[in-house]
C-alpha cells in the first residue's frame, strides 16, 4: 500500500525537513529551559551530596549555612562528637567572594575544610586532576568552572593560595563554583579586613578611653588581639554511625546543645523550596510560555502546509478518497514533523548545553516526557488542519 503521507513528504522533502529542523531548534530551546531548571535543582543537590554530611548543625533559629547566615563557635564540634551516634563531625565555613587571579576575578564559594584528610565531611569527594589539600595553610582545590589550572596562584584577602587540585561539578546552590581551602585560612578570610581598615580600627580602639587606660598597660593590646580573631564557623557537618537514625541524633543535638539541626531531606527542602524557589518558578513560567509558543507554531506550520496543498486535497476528494485517509495523511505528516523536531531539539540541546555558564541537566525522563508532549501537541494541532482540509469543496480542484 502506498503511504499518502510518505509520498507527499517525498514530494517536497527539502521544505519538510527544513521546517522540521526549524521546529527542532525551538523544541531544543524548550528542552534547554527544562535543563536549566533541572540544573538549578541539581546544583542544590550536588552541593549537599558533595558535603558528605548526614546532618548539618547550625546556629539556633537559622536556616543556615546556605540559605541564611549562621555562626557557631569553632569548638562546638567537640561536644557534638561526644553525642552517641555521631561518627565524625567537622567544622565548615562558606563564604561567597570574588577571588582574584592576576588580572581577572571569579565569583566563587570559598569553603573552609578541616585539615583531617580525604573523606572528612566538607572535603571534595572526588577530583579530576591534582591532589587533595595536604598542608594546613595556603593550598586550594578549585572547581574547573572557575577556570583555574593546577599551580595557579589565587588571592583570597591578603594571602596567596596555590591550586593543587581540581574538581568538577562542585558548585554552590546558586551555581557559583567552589574553592576549598583549609579551615583556619577560611576563618581568617571570613573575618580579615583590608590593612587600611585594620589600622583604622586599631586607632579607633586606641582613642577609646575605656579601652586604652593609662594605668593598665597591655589592655589595649589585649583588646586589639581579641578584636582580630574569629572563633566562629558556619556549620558543623556530622556523619552518623551505621545503625543510628538521623532523627534521634538530630533530636539529641537539638535538645542538649541548643543548636538547630537539619538532615538531608530538610536541607534539600530549604535549598530547593526556599533558596531557588523564585528563580525556579521564573524559569518554569518561561518554559510554559515557550511550550505554548512551540505548540502554536507547530499548529501554524501544519495548517499552512495543509493549506498549501488544498488543491491536491480537493483532487483527492474528487477522486473519492475517504476522509479518514486524508486525515491520516495530515496527522502522519504532523507527527513526522514533530519527530524530526524532537530529534533535532534533543541533539541541539545536548550539544549547546555544555556551553552554558551554569549547569544544564538534560534528564532522559524529561526527554521521554518531551517526546510524548511533542507528539500530543502535533496531533492536537493537526486537528485544525484536518478540519480545514475536510471542509474543502472537491469542486475547487477544477474551479478557480
Amino acid at each position: 500500500m502506498i503511504s499518502l503521507a510518505g509520498r507527499d513528504i517525498l514530494h517536497a522533502w527539502g521544505k519538510f525537513v527544513f521546517t522540521g529542523i526549524g521546529l527542532g531548534l525551538l523544541i531544543g530551546a524548550t528542552f534547554t529551559m527544562a535543563g536549566v531548571y533541572r540544573g538549578m535543582v541539581d546544583d542544590a543537590k550536588v552541593m549537599l551530596d558533595n558535603s558528605g554530611a548526614d546532618l548539618w548543625v547550625v546556629q539556633q533559629d537559622t536556616l543556615g549555612p546556605y540559605a541564611e547566615p549562621s555562626s557557631i563557635y569553632d569548638d562546638t564540634y567537640r561536644s557534638i562528637l561526644g553525642i552517641s551516634g555521631v561518627a565524625r563531625a567537622a567544622n565548615v565555613t562558606y563564604l561567597i567572594m570574588q577571588v582574584r587571579q592576576e588580572e581577572r576575578d571569579v565569583r566563587v564559594l570559598v569553603t573552609g575544610v578541616t585539615a583531617d584528610g580525604p573523606g572528612t565531611p566538607g572535603w571534595p569527594p572526588y577530583l579530576v586532576a591534582g591532589r587533595q589539600i595536604t598542608r594546613s595553610h595556603y593550598e586550594a582545590v578549585a572547581d574547573i568552572a572557575t577556570g583555574f589550572k593546577l599551580g595557579d596562584r589565587l588571592h583570597i584577602r591578603r594571602n596567596q593560595y596555590t591550586v593543587v587540585g581540581l574538581t568538577r561539578r562542585m558548585v554552590s546552590s546558586s551555581g557559583d563554583p567552589m574553592v576549598f581551602i583549609p579551615l583556619k585560612d577560611a576563618q581568617e578570610a571570613q573575618f580579615l579586613k583590608d590593612n587600611d581598615a585594620i589600622v583604622r580600627s586599631r586607632a579607633r580602639t586606641a582613642q577609646n578611653p575605656a579601652l586604652n587606660r593609662p594605668g593598665v598597660p597591655g589592655l589595649l593590646d589585649a583588646v586589639i588581639t581579641s578584636q582580630s580573631t574569629n572563633p566562629y564557623v558556619n556549620a558543623v557537618l556530622v556523619q552518623l554511625e551505621a545503625g543510628h537514625s538521623s532523627e534521634d541524633v538530630a533530636e539529641s543535638i537539638r535538645r542538649w546543645k541548643r543548636l538547630k539541626v537539619y538532615d538531608r531531606a530538610q536541607m534539600e527542602n530549604i535549598l530547593v523550596g526556599k533558596l531557588i524557589a523564585t528563580s525556579a518558578r521564573q524559569i518554569g513560567m518561561f518554559m510554559m510560555i515557550l511550550t505554548i509558543v512551540s505548540a502554536a507554531i507547530v499548529a501554524f506550520i501544519i495548517y499552512t502546509l495543509t493549506m498549501g496543498k488544498i488543491r491536491e486535497i480537493a483532487v483527492l476528494k474528487l477522486i473519492g478518497t475517504r476522509n479518514r485517509t486524508i486525515a491520516a495523511m495530515i496527522m502522519q505528516q504532523a507527527v513526522a514533523l514533530g519527530l524530526i523536531g524532537f530529534v533535532v531539539g534533543k541533539i541541539t540541546a545536548t550539544l549547546w548545553g555544555p556551553f552554558f555558564p551554569k549547569h544544564v541537566l538534560l534528564e532522559p525522563l524529561d526527554a521521554v516526557i518531551g517526546l510524548i508532549a511533542v507528539v500530543v501537541i502535533c496531533i492536537l494541532s493537526s486537528i485544525i488542519a484536518i478540519r480545514a482540509a475536510l471542509k474543502v469543496d472537491p469542486a475547487e480542484a477544477i474551479g478557480g
Binding site: 572526588y126 534533543k346 544544564v360
Partner: protein, 398 residues
Amino acid sequence: MKKFLSTHGRTLALAAVLVPLLGLLVYVALRSGPLAPVPVTLVTVENRAVTPALYGIGTVEAHYTHKIGPTFAGRLRRVDVQSGDRVKAGQLLGEMDPVDLDDRIAAQTAALKHADANILAVKAQSQEAGVRNSFAEVQAKRYEQLLSIRSVSEENTEAKRQELQVTQSVLSAARANLDASRQEFSRLRSEREGLIRQRANLRLVSPVDGVVSRRDMDPGTTVVAGQSVIEVIEPGTVWINVRFDQQRAVGLKNGLPAKITLRSRADEPLAGQVSRVELHADPVTEEILAKIEFKLLPQTLPPLGELAEVTVALPVQKPMPVVPNASVQRVDRQLGVWIVEGDLLRFAPVKTGVTDLDGRVQIVEGLSGGERVVVYSQKALKSGSRIKIVKRVMGKSS
C-alpha cells in the same frame, strides 16, 4: 528540479538527512547524561616509601625579649636610644624623673656629716670621762693606802670612792653615747645608700648586649610600674615560633630538619631545624607549638613578627602500598578506594597511614600493591557505574 530527482532519489535524499540525524541522536543519548560511561583515570598501587612532612606557619621571634621599664610609677625624663641602636650590657638607655630623690640624698649626706661630727664630739666626751675616771681611780687607790696607815679619815676615803663610782658611770654613759652615735651614723649611711640605690633604679639599663627593638615611650610620658619603655633583644637569637595543626603533627620532635620560607623572601627557603617542641599545646586553636632555629642566620635579620612558612621533614617510612590522596574516598560511611578489575568497579575499604605533602597516602590495610585504582573521575562513582579509562579527566562542566 523535481524532474531530475525520481521518487527513488528523493527517498534516498530524505534518508540521507534523517539517518545521520537518528545516528546523532543515539550518539548524544549514549554519550551524555546518566547513560554515558564515566571517564576515569587509573593508577597502579605501588609499594614505595613516603617521606611525610609537616607544614606550619609561624612568626619570627627572639629567644629572649628584655622589656625595660621602671619599677615605680613616674615620669620619663629621657630616653637615649632609638629603635635599631646596638647597646652593651650595663649601658644607660634612659632615665626616669627622680622628682625629690636627689634632694633627699643631699639631705641624707648632710645628716651623715652631722652624725660624723657628732661621733667626734661624743668621742672627746668619752675621752674626758676616761681621764677623769683614771684620775679618780688613782685618787681612790691612794686614799685607801693612806687610810690603812690611818693618815686620812674614813670620810675622805669614802668621798674618793664615791668620786670614782661617779666617774665610772660618766665613762659608761659616754661610751654608750659613742656607740649610739656610731649606730646613728651607720643608719644614716644605709638610708643614703638606699636612696642612691633607688636613684640608680630610675636609670634604665640594658641587661644584655643587644639591639633596641622597640622604643615605646618618649620623655615626659608618665609610666606606671612594670610598663615597658624600651625593648632589647639579642640579635643572634632569632627563631621561628611555629604552629602545627594537631591533627597533622604526627612525629614532630626536636632535631628534625626544617625548611623556612619567610614571607618577604618566598623564593629563597632557608635551612633550619626543630629546636624545641613546646610542652604546652594551644587548646583553643588546636595547634602544637614549636621553635625552629635557623641553621645559618640570614645576613639581614628578618623583622620580628614576620610570617614564615615552615616545612619539617619527617623520617622516611618503610615501603608500603601507596595511593594518591585523590583516590581515597568515603562511600557508605567507609573510607576506601575504587579498584578496577577488568571493566568492573569494586570499592575496597582501606585504612590509611601517613601522608606526604605531595598527596601520597600509605595504605596500612586493604591493598597489597599492584591493584589498579581510580584516581580521577568525572563524576562520583557508584558500584556498577560504567567507566571509560582515559589518560586525563577534564572537560567542560556539563
